[in-house]
Symmetry: C2
DNA sequence: CCCGCATCTTGCCATTGACAAGATCGCACG
DNA sequence: CGTGCGATCTTGTCAATGGCAAGATGCGGG
């Protein structure tokens, strides 16, 4: 009934994705229902199905969008660092990617939530491709390059640290006492501890 | 109707928790419904509510159980390492706790799944206490002790790495190419890379 | 001009979570 | 011994949801 003319051509899909993003950010992924999204978009309860097939389809689309955004920011940092010849081989780029990873998770909580929940998504080739792009970018930032002997382990270590921090912060597991602190600074402090030599005592 | 005599005294709560654990491990947390659990336990559809109040109550109970199990294995390692006077101050204990953290996540996927999903649980004092125990154990394992200047950052770094690895492995984000590898060994390799001096190139 | 297709709607059904009211059992207490 | 109370479980019910089917609507190409 409402806004009959506004839709029926074009941006319902985008509208629904935006509504899902907001709803997840507000009340968590569990509060998402196709009908509620339809209500917010002013369409009938079955309209979303024609764009996403399924609830899983909607989450999958959100996840793909999320991997796209994350990939973009990681690629931008890699491009910046790749231009000057100097710092390649060091940890500067990997560090920067870690910060951006964390920043992304906090700035786009809804996307991040959905990206790492395989039970919510359908494993499409599109999703796999988007995910692989992220992995490639991480592996390419490793000291020694993506083909170096330690590339695997190094990128895995960095990814784990960034992902773990982002996840723990996101779900409130470590905020009680660290509330008010700036998560990015906190992550950098932790990351620098990680990749620094073991302390022999000051 | 079925098994009228077996229940009605005692272990329905335990039975339901076990059923939930199995169901989550089999089909994911999304497949859990109180009614399905009731069906598996052979009781009526409303019986679970009397033990957990709520679906959130069930997940909360599972999470508390999970934190208990995790805390036990971390505490055991800490006790072992605390007895001999020597290795305190080194990274050996923290490393061991990391492995045990990862091992727990892989051995008890259902518990682990629920423990870090605040939107599924109710924040009871019991849950908070169980979680804080874990945090205390991690912080106590840091080189320099839980009151040292770097305790915060160090435990946070280690926790992030272990949690991130466990999470990524668990949801299949890094299995495609690393399938078949032993996750514990992989984690140790990554962890040792993390806390080792930065490579100057061999 | 008309047909086809994408888009959206209406109607429907099984499942679920939650609640209310009643049944059944054990146990303490008189 | 029996009686009443509370814990445990059942039956009945309701609104909300996901998903399917069938129909309406409107745009663009033949």
């Amino acid at each position: 009934m409402p806004n009959r003319d506004a839709y029926h051509h074009g941006d319902l899909r985008r509208t629904l994705l935006a509504a899902a993003r907001d709803l997840i950010a507000e009340r968590g992924v569990g509060a998402v229902s196709l009908r509620e999204l339809a209500r917010r978009a002013g369409v009938s309860h079955a309209a979303p199905a024609h764009h996403f097939t399924d609830k899983a389809g909607l989450f999958t689309a959100l996840a793909v969008e999320g991997y796209g955004l994350l990939g973009d920011t990681l690629a931008a940092a890699s491009a910046d660092a790749g231009a000057p010849p100097a710092p390649v081989g060091g940890l500067a780029l990997l560090r920067e990617l870690g910060v951006r990873y964390v920043r992304f998770a906090l700035a786009h909580p809804a996307h991040f939530d959905v990206m790492f929940r395989p039970e919510l998504c359908r494993e499409t080739t599109e999703l796999a491709a988007a995910r692989e792009r992220t992995e490639r970018l991480l592996r390419a930032a490793v000291p020694g390059g993506p083909t170096g002997p330690r590339a695997e382990v190094y990128s895995l270590a960095a990814w784990s640290a960034a992902h773990g921090f982002a996840t723990l912060w996101r779900d409130g597991s470590l905020s009680p006492d660290r509330d008010g602190a700036d998560p990015e600074e906190l992550f950098l402090a932790a990351a620098d501890t990680l990749f620094a030599p073991a302390p022999a005592g000051p």
